[in-house]
């Protein structure tokens, strides 16, 4: 009778130890990561797609046991693309929800109001496709996921392509809005340095819907290249106006900084009208990074369920990369202390599905990697074509180059 008693005691002690360990793990509070994301309003489309990618990372990291042995809890609020709401939301995240780490909302405008808040409280903030938002505040714990740093990093490739086709004159058209103005100022500087003569230089009000008069004015100025800095709705309207009216035979290069031509619904709706346009991008099919193909495969399933951008080439991989950087920094330091994490992020190269990232003192990429690509051979009403390499031929940067620019613009459109 003694043996069974010993066995029973052993079994009991093993069970107790196991349940104790389980209880200890279960009782650990989660690591809370908080953010606001524009899920409605003008930035809502991009924000929703980005959110799918971030949730994928949360699931992935929790599948691996979480951070520091604690589950990750993701808290998100919708800021309606309205900067007036973000200070209140981030204060709630910090003071009521007691989050451990913060991620910035997508885009510059909703992020700008929280920069002084995080600076004053000495908090780490993972940036989310903002442009020059840390320029004034100079917060040393800011790390942007976007593949650019200053204005020239955006437009350099476009101007190099212009030089290659022998452009001597330039027309600059920019929306009278935050990002577009910063970009246009950088372009004006670059045009001056390149010795290009500016023959047209206009801003348009953000609510403009009819661009026919503007396109006619550009055509009359007979520029060699047209640099456009526009927002999604404007970009679509400009492409349609160019398609109807034409910018003239003098134009060798058209595009540059048109936001919205990276979003799948816009690309599908514009179809062949995109041919010939040279525009910036963050990622185009064919660029190889470890894990990116597998990410897109999984993202597209989730995007279908969530009814958001079905291809998700522009924002989602970079949002997943935010999670990867947090994971790498927390695991690397075994800490959630913001200063420690910021020091790690600054010193180390981050390995992500959008490649390796090294940060400069301003929290932007040391080696910017904005792609300038030319749309070619695009057919109407075909989404699948945008999955393939070759529909957006990379002209810049050199390490991703897949072809030479075709000019003039009218020839490239055919």
């Amino acid at each position: 009778m003694k043996l069974p008693r010993i066995v029973a005691a052993l079994v009991c002690s093993v069970l107790m130890t196991a349940s104790g360990a389980l209880f200890a793990q279960g009782s650990k509070p989660p690591v809370k990561i908080g953010m606001s994301m524009p899920q409605t309003g003008t930035l809502g489309g991009g924000g929703q797609a980005a959110l799918v990618a971030l949730r994928m990372w949360v699931d992935d990291v929790n599948g691996k046991g979480g951070l520091l042995g604690r589950k990750v809890e993701f808290i998100v609020y919708d800021d309606q693309s309205n900067p007036a709401l973000t200070p209140g939301i981030y204060t709630k995240l910090l003071d009521v929800d007691k989050v451990d780490l913060l991620i910035a909302p997508y885009a510059t405008v909703p992020t700008a109001p929280i920069m002084p808040l995080v600076k004053q409280r000495g908090l780490l903030l993972m940036g989310n496709f903002s442009f020059q938002v840390n320029h004034t505040v100079k917060h040393d714990m800011w790390f942007n996921n976007a593949p650019w740093n200053d204005a020239s990093s955006w437009s350099d490739g476009f101007f190099k392509a212009g030089k290659q086709v022998g452009a001597k004159t330039i027309a600059i058209l920019a929306a009278d809005q935050e990002f577009a103005q910063n970009l246009a100022n950088g372009a004006r500087e670059l045009a001056g340095k390149a010795g290009l003569k500016t023959v047209y230089n206009q801003n348009y009000p953000p609510a403009t819907v009819d661009f026919s008069a503007i396109i006619r004015a550009i055509r009359a100025a007979k520029p060699d290249m047209v640099f456009v800095c526009s927002y999604p709705n404007d970009s679509v309207a400009i492409v349609r106006a160019v398609n109807e009216i034409g910018v003239g035979s003098s134009v060798k290069l058209f595009g540059g900084g048109m936001v919205g031509l990276q979003f799948t619904p816009n690309m599908v709706s514009l179809g062949s009208m995109l041919n010939g346009i040279v525009n910036y991008n963050s990622y185009v099919p064919g660029m190889k990074y470890p894990g990116i193909d597998e990410f897109f495969e999984r993202y597209r399933k989730r995007a279908g369920e969530a009814k958001v951008d079905p291809l998700g080439l522009y924002l989602p991989p970079f949002n997943y990369a935010i999670g990867q950087m947090i994971e790498q920094a927390v695991n690397g330091t075994r800490s959630l202390d913001h200063k420690t994490l910021a020091a790690y992020l600054r010193k180390n190269e981050m390995k992500t599905i959008v490649g390796s990232i090294r940060y400069g003192p301003d929290g932007e990429w040391v080696n910017p990697r904005v792609v300038q690509a030319q749309f070619r051979g695009i057919a109407d009403k075909n989404m699948d074509q945008f999955r393939q390499p070759g529909k957006q031929v990379v002209l810049y940067p050199e390490q991703y180059k897949t072809g030479e620019v075709i000019a003039p613009f009218e020839k490239a459109r055919k």
């Binding site: 609020y77 309205n82 200070p87 209140g88 939301i89 009521v96 004034t136 505040v137 935050e178």
Partner: protein, 317 residues
């Protein structure tokens, strides 16, 4: 001073003291962030009610005055680095002058035509600011808060107390207008402007005064926005939701009494704040719309009218 007057000022002193005590005791900053927005709407709704409620001139341009207040503050911070108090006074002065000017241009219009003219003012002023590079233009401008003044421990708490003080001033002005000959004149204009004119009510002068006071208070409410948000850009400073809320809150609370806009703003503002961080901020606008429809149908006199009805019934029984 009447007994009611004493009661009002004692109540105001209690509210201000409670705000100061809360700022000293409550550590969680979020509550002050949220409460600031609600109290800001008390000022806006009260200011709107002076012209819209008492005189019956529906102003859709509240966001224009609010935005002007914010941008006057931005200009003064950038140009002279003036303290918050002077920013508010300057914004009120500019808002009052603007209200007077707008009144001169538009008060000869009535009904829907006046309302459309006030919407146009928002668009004109927003376009002007978009093209004014000194205050950031279309790009917007980031503002770094200066060190907080003693005895406050944070700038947000200071802004909250400041907004409570502004709300008390706004309500006191509205109450004074309501109970004085000015209020009686404005009500006469609302009921029948021709009859009021014929009986010797100086209609244009009263309307201009209401427009200027309303504009001054709205701009004063907008002035601390720059410090509250630490960032100002035209699309959010001149956002039409300020106009919609400033109009909806007095209608929900009741336009005939100074308490109406206060109750409406506290109710709607609080619901909006709660909905933003619980259900979905997209529902904000829906909440305003639904409450507006419900109150217009079920309680056309607003919460104040509903309370009076209930009180009368209880007394009657």
């Amino acid at each position: 001073m009447t007994a009611r007057g004493y009661r009002f000022w004692i109540g105001a002193a209690i509210v201000l003291s409670a705000a100061c005590v809360a700022a000293a005791v409550v550590k969680n900053e979020y509550y002050f962030y949220a409460a600031y927005v609600v109290i800001q709407f008390v000022v806006l709704a009260t200011a709107w009610n002076i012209l819209g409620g008492y005189a019956g001139y529906v102003n859709f341009g509240s966001s224009a005055f609010f935005g002007v207040g914010a941008y006057i503050a931005v200009m003064l911070i950038k140009w002279l680095n003036l303290p918050l108090g002077l920013q508010i006074i300057a914004a009120a002065a500019v808002g009052g002058t603007l209200g007077f000017g707008v009144g001169l241009l538009t008060l000869r219009l009535r009904g829907i035509f006046f309302s459309i003219a006030t919407v146009a003012i928002t668009i004109i002023l927003e376009t002007a600011v978009i093209n004014w590079r000194f205050v950031g233009g279309a790009t917007g401008i980031q503002i770094l808060r200066p060190p907080v003044m003693e005895p406050f421990e944070s700038y947000t708490k200071m802004l909250f107390v400041c907004m409570v003080l502004l709300a008390i001033i706004a309500v006191a002005i509205a109450r004074h207008i309501e109970t004085s000959w000015i209020g009686r004149g404005l009500r006469a204009i609302r009921d029948n402007e021709e009859a009021a004119e014929c009986t010797g009510v100086p209609t244009l002068k009263l309307k201009l005064a209401a427009c200027a006071i309303s504009g001054a208070l709205m701009s004063a409410a907008g002035a601390p926005l720059a410090m509250y948000q630490s960032f100002v850009e035209p699309a959010s400073a001149f956002n039409l939701t300020y106009s919609v809320s400033a109009l909806a809150m007095p209608i929900i609370g009741g336009t005939s009494h100074w308490l109406g806009p206060v109750l409406g703003a506290l109710l709607l503002g609080s619901v909006q704040q709660i909905v933003t961080v619980t259900v979905s901020s997209e529902l904000n606008v829906l909440v305003v719309g639904v409450l507006l429809v419900v109150f217009v149908v079920a309680a056309p006199q607003g919460l104040v009218g509903l309370f009076t009805k209930v009180k009368d019934k209880v007394k009657g029984n």
